[in-house]
């Protein structure tokens, strides 16, 4: 079966998703699952009154089935008690949508998990901030481990200091976070190259709101929750290995230069 061969019901929910949006208030809890790196990120907002889900909204980044399952779960959960809502399974969502392609059953059928997460957060009184526009707050910086290959490529793609920005002209540059000067450096680099990635192990950028706005307006690509673990290449840097701290997975990123200010 093709991965995009969807039922009529899935397509209908994809085209006209129900309950899109966010909710606010003391009686609202958020559930979040997925990771944009994997192509799916889902947020479910529930507003609870007398143990009943009075209102529910969602925001989803993902493929057709990710959007359809989010939409469907909001319909299934609305008006249910928290206990009833906890009983809704991934299979229920898929069944209500007249089935999902087998390959999508796992990866894009996360809506039930997001709902359960929201209920859990509500019961534990946990306030989860939405992904968008969250005020900066410090979070635990993961223990750093030794980065493999730094010495081998020193001056051949790895830089701790930088003299002339021209050295980076038209190169793909990865700047590793180290306070506000590193953000300023990343922004400055966009004058000489179209590809600057700024990577931080944190969940979000810590900086003055002025600098954050400047970063957002710039052409710098920001990568959060990423940790540099290895620099690879033959004679010069060809790529790096990144540890995705959220998913606890590793992946390769092709760059020409790494700056660790």
């Amino acid at each position: 079966m093709k991965s995009t061969k969807y039922s009529k019901k899935v397509l209908e929910h994809f085209r006209n998703p129900r309950n899109v949006g966010t909710l606010e208030g003391d009686d609202v809890a958020i559930g979040r699952v997925g990771n944009p790196v994997c192509g799916d990120l889902m947020e479910i907002y529930i507003k609870v009154k007398d143990d009943v889900i009075e209102d529910i909204k969602f925001k989803t980044f993902g493929c057709g089935s990710a959007i359809a399952t989010s939409s469907m779960i909001t319909e299934l959960a609305k008006g249910k008690t928290l206990d009833e809502a906890l009983k809704i399974t991934r299979q229920d969502v898929a069944d209500e949508l007249e089935g999902l392609p087998p390959i999508k059953m796992h990866c894009s059928n996360l809506a039930a998990d997001a709902l359960h997460d929201a209920i859990k957060n509500y019961r534990e009184g946990r306030k989860l901030e939405p992904v968008v526009d969250v005020p900066a707050k410090p979070c635990a910086i993961p223990e750093s481990r030794e980065i493999i290959g730094l010495e081998k490529f020193l001056g051949k793609g790895v830089y701790f200091t930088y003299g002339n920005l021209e050295e980076f002209r038209d190169k793909r540059v990865l700047v590793i976070e180290n306070g506000e000067p590193s953000i300023e450096l990343a922004i400055k680099l966009t004058e000489v190259t179209g590809r600057v990635i700024f990577m931080t192990p944190l969940k979000r950028i810590l900086a003055s709101s002025e600098l954050k706005t400047k970063l957002k307006m710039s052409d710098v690509k920001v990568l959060v929750e990423g940790e540099l673990i290895e620099v690879l290449g033959d004679n010069t840097v060809e790529k790096v290995k990144v540890h995705d701290l959220n998913e606890d997975t590793e992946y390769e990123l092709f760059v020409d230069a790494v700056i660790i200010p």
């Binding site: 995009t4 790196v37 799916d40 993902g62 959007i67 968008v132 590809r195 990123l253």
Partner: protein
């Protein structure tokens, strides 16, 4: 559903009606086996050899014997790389490919690695260009083969083929070039570009599917990977599909006549599309080289949205189009091409590949320009990643 707007020419092209017409007699009255010695067999043999001659001219091969018919580009790539590596192992054990090769080349290289060969991959820049000096860096004393594509099938970047050919020839290394993405729109010349092995596909020049060609320069020795009755100089056994071969030759003939005009027309259409999309959609980007790219290819990415959602929405508008998103692949991995140019996974997920062709009109492109900004806006409203 009415007629769709087809913008996925890299995946499949319609067979030209003139090609179908040329093929038809070879299914019925001219049906014989080219290996047969009777008069009917001679008719088939003549058709086969005339076609071989036309294909040879198409890529400026000096001798039609250098043209080997296969079942398609994938088989041609297998025959070129596995066939050459196995036959020439005593010369060396090392093969070079680029990070941006077609998936078949990557998997063939993996197969050879499992069988004791060593493979180096040349990195590309952000535009997807393989730099000749980087190829030079990977060459070792035991390098026997370099396989680098003519142009990239996904992001459309054209490679410095002549320079790579020069380097390979100088070092006595055989150069294989997968020309499938470029054939029919860029004039190919195996002599000028010093190419030793070249892969072609019939469908990519509006010929029938299920047929490919491997050009094998005189003097380059291969081991066959399909063993049988010894057709195609023993390099590719199996009764030749004369109808398809005649069809491909006809397709090559048509393409040669129209290439100049088509290239100009599609380049204008492509630049018009790119300009409009990048202007009308915020946070949209072009993947691949801005200028040095295939005339029929425009590859975009859009922040905060996922490619399959885009594809489905465009499907609702009657537009057939492709994405590099993992959600549409068999492995759920994002395109290795997009990763090799340095994109992050989430960026690769939000890509859209427009490939135009012979029947693409200005109206088709105008429709895309009209609907795409609205679709992107709608999907961004749903996305927790957008502001």
């Amino acid at each position: 559903m009415g007629k769709t707007i087809y913008l996925d020419y890299q995946a499949s092209k319609p067979v030209d009606s003139r090609v179908v017409e040329a093929m038809l007699p070879y299914f019925t009255e001219k049906f014989a086996n080219a290996s047969s010695l009777h008069t009917d067999g001679d008719i088939a043999t003549d058709a086969l050899e005339e076609s071989r001659q036309k294909i040879a001219e198409f890529i400026n091969s000096q001798n039609p014997r250098e043209i080997i018919f296969t079942s398609g580009a994938t088989e041609s790539n297998n025959l070129a790389i596995i066939g050459y590596a196995l036959r020439n192992r005593r010369k060396g054990n090392h093969i070079i490919i680029s990070e941006i090769e077609h998936i078949s080349i990557h998997n063939i290289a993996k197969y050879l690695q499992k069988n004791g060969f060593e493979v180096s991959k040349v990195p590309v820049d952000f535009y997807g260009t393989v730099h000749p000096d980087k190829v030079q860096e990977k060459i070792r004393d035991d390098t026997i083969l370099i396989s680098i594509q003519y142009a990239n099938n996904e992001i459309g970047t054209i490679q410095p083929v002549a320079e790579i050919g020069e380097i390979a020839r100088e070092r006595g290394i055989v150069y294989h070039c997968d020309a499938v993405a470029a054939e029919g729109i860029i004039p190919i010349d195996v002599v000028r570009d010093k190419i030793d092995l070249l892969t072609l596909s019939s469908n990519d020049i509006y010929g029938p599917r299920g047929l490919g060609v491997l050009y094998v320069r005189t003097g380059v020795m291969l081991t066959p990977i399909i063993i049988g009755g010894g057709q195609e100089r023993g390099l590719r056994s199996g009764t030749e599909d004369i109808a398809s071969i005649v069809g491909m030759a006809k397709a090559a003939e048509i393409v040669q006549e129209t290439m100049e005009i088509e290239r100009k027309r599609l380049t204008e259409l492509r630049d018009y599309l790119i300009k409009n999309i990048l202007e009308k959609i915020p946070k949209s980007y072009l993947n691949g080289h801005p200028k040095n790219r295939l005339p029929h290819n425009a590859h975009f990415r859009f922040d905060y949205i996922e490619g399959e959602s885009l594809l489905l929405s465009l499907k609702d508008e009657g537009i057939s189009i492709a994405t590099g998103s993992a959600c549409t692949s068999k492995t759920l991995e994002p395109s290795h091409t997009l990763i090799s140019i340095g994109l992050l996974h989430e960026e690769a997920h939000g890509s859209l590949v427009v490939t135009m062709g012979r029947y693409t009109t200005r109206e088709d492109i105008d429709k895309l320009i009209k609907v795409l900004p609205k679709i992107v806006e709608k999907l961004r409203k749903l996305s927790p990643l957008a502001d």
